[in-house]
Symmetry: C2
Subunit: 341 residues, 2 copies
């Protein structure tokens, strides 16, 4: 338990108004690591190469980074992602920044870890379109430089395998965290780090109840054991016209995985870190601006109509959650001298 | 005139066998710059950002780097490039590495400069698919961070314009050069930098006549004034069966631009720098391996059948032309806080 969390716990005990006084947490400088996949430099190096390698897709044109662009807000700023051969699905690519602080992955939380998530898009026919992981492994084995990279990353079992590839990608993703936002500086004591508007927005954000779900250092809910998701129904308050306008209930979310009626329209509570950089919004990317997203969240989740000023204050606060991206060098992807991949 | 060139010139005067003795040139550490677009750090910074920005395409998914990948051999290792919505054309993406040493750009040499080249793919409907440059400029103007980047890069006229955008991209591309190959080390005096096989291949390369066209520091022909291309007919020696097998004459090359019968199947002589990393080969990407490409070049351009050993020696030499890629950091692309691009 780090100091920030201890302070938050003390605040929780001593304060009557947790949301306003004590529950603000800075983003840790390090992401949690699972016991069976410690983050090492060699693994991060390999993971970055794999993350950037378009040869992990059937056409050789789509890498993990294509939809989760670390040069942007960790995604593609498109309503829904575009995979191989220009195909699109129904959901918006979530940001990879700080995904390490999600206890489950994907909008419907179906992956219990970053490792499990990394395996998915590669063989999804409308995303990276590889036939199966055997085909991926075969391709990686045919690229001479990968052999040594896997050996260095996995000292005991240096095989080129699905397990090791997804572990390396997950290890790299655990380095993709963005502390140092105006908000982080502010709650660490630099009272000039946020504007008055942002401070008002921060208090309003807690007061109206956004923190009911968007709590914690990553604003994605309470700390849960890895693999256990924090879900919320969306929308909570019925509004047929809005639902139709933005097609909010067409995709059943968690129920599409479990088949349970009680999981209808249940979604993983997403992080709000860097949310200003990840328009358009919601699981289907149908909402174009953060202003509108805040307005809709208040109405549909909290049953509240925000004033223009309340809404713009909260938007200003959300802009204070844009963090500092880590400095990264371009990897050189191993080649296939004299022949194509 | 740098020392290497002076030495080459002396060798030319004193040696009876220029190709074997004196015409080997190391790649300069700096690319030539046009008088009206000097390379400056601010321009290179902006150019890199533009080069990496997928929002320069209609779908927001294809950047210059998608097909000219600086994490690979400066291209995509595909037979022909794939643009927006999975569209493909008839030609293979040329490498961006050392493109600064080409006096003209594109396979058919239709662009007289890197600046002119950079304007093309952005509005090509099957490449990046933007309607026109007005639309590109409009989109860039709507991304707040670009304004300052253009102002810093172009002190006198800091406008966001096609002219400035393409100048910045070209300035960045002039930094994408790869000295330090085994070959460069060898001809600078490190006699252990190349293997015996590679040295044999180097001499064979000159002896059979590859250097007739692939001469100079970039192995793309004699030094020409910027904007003046060095073209060669391909194939020179008729071989109907091979032509059909690889569809070599279907695309008329320079004649597709000029409409002149005399330009039929004339092509810009491409650089051989990093050629081992840019399979598959030729303008249409129909030849899968470097072995086959060398064999075909000898037969179709020089009318010679190489022995297996001669061919493998030359391939070994061509592998010695893979250079050292410059260390680069990922740029952070300017965002559009609160809304999509």
């Amino acid at each position: 338990m780090n100091l920030t969390k201890i302070l938050a716990a003390i605040a929780f005990i001593t304060s009557a108004n947790m949301a306003l006084a004590g529950s603000w947490e800075a983003l840790p400088n390090k992401a949690p690591e699972p016991a069976d996949n410690p983050t090492t430099p060699a693994k991060v190096k390999l993971g970055k190469i794999l993350f950037m390698d378009p040869r992990l897709s059937s056409t050789g044109t789509v890498s993990c980074n294509s939809c989760h662009n670390v040069m942007l807000g960790g995604e593609d700023n498109r309503p829904v992602a575009m995979g191989v051969n220009g195909q699109t699905g129904g959901r918006s690519a979530p940001t990879v920044w700080n995904a390490a602080f999600n206890s489950v992955q994907f909008w419907d939380g179906r992956a219990p870890s970053l490792e499990a998530q990394a395996a998915g898009p590669v063989t999804n026919p409308i995303e990276m379109g590889m036939k199966d992981w055997d085909a991926v492994v075969k391709r990686l084995k045919a690229i001479p430089g990968y052999s040594n990279l896997f050996k260095k990353a996995f000292v005991l079992d240096g095989a080129i395998s699905k397990d090791n590839a997804t572990k390396a990608i997950a290890a790299y993703e655990r380095t993709l965290i963005t502390p140092g936002s105006a908000y982080d500086k502010y709650i660490k004591g630099n009272k000039k780090a946020m504007t008055e508007e942002q401070i008002r927005g921060m208090n309003k954000f807690a007061e109206v109840g956004c923190t009911n779900c968007h709590s914690g250092a990553a604003f994605n809910g309470p700390e849960m054991p890895e693999g256990t998701g924090f879900f919320m129904k969306f929308p909570v308050h019925k509004d047929k016209k809005t639902e139709i306008k933005y097609a909010l209930t067409r995709d059943k979310g968690l129920a599409e995985v479990t088949g349970k009626k009680t999981d209808d329209n249940m979604w993983k509570v997403p992080t709000l870190r860097n949310v200003a950089l990840t328009a358009p919004y919601f699981h289907n990317g149908k909402v174009k601006t953060l202003d509108k997203a805040v307005d809709l969240m208040a109405r549909l989740q909290l049953g509240k109509k925000l004033s223009k000023k309340e809404s713009s204050d909260i938007v200003a606060f959300l802009n204070a959650l844009s963090g500092r991206f880590p400095r990264q060098t371009f990897p050189t992807l191993p080649g296939t001298p004299g022949r194509a991949f």
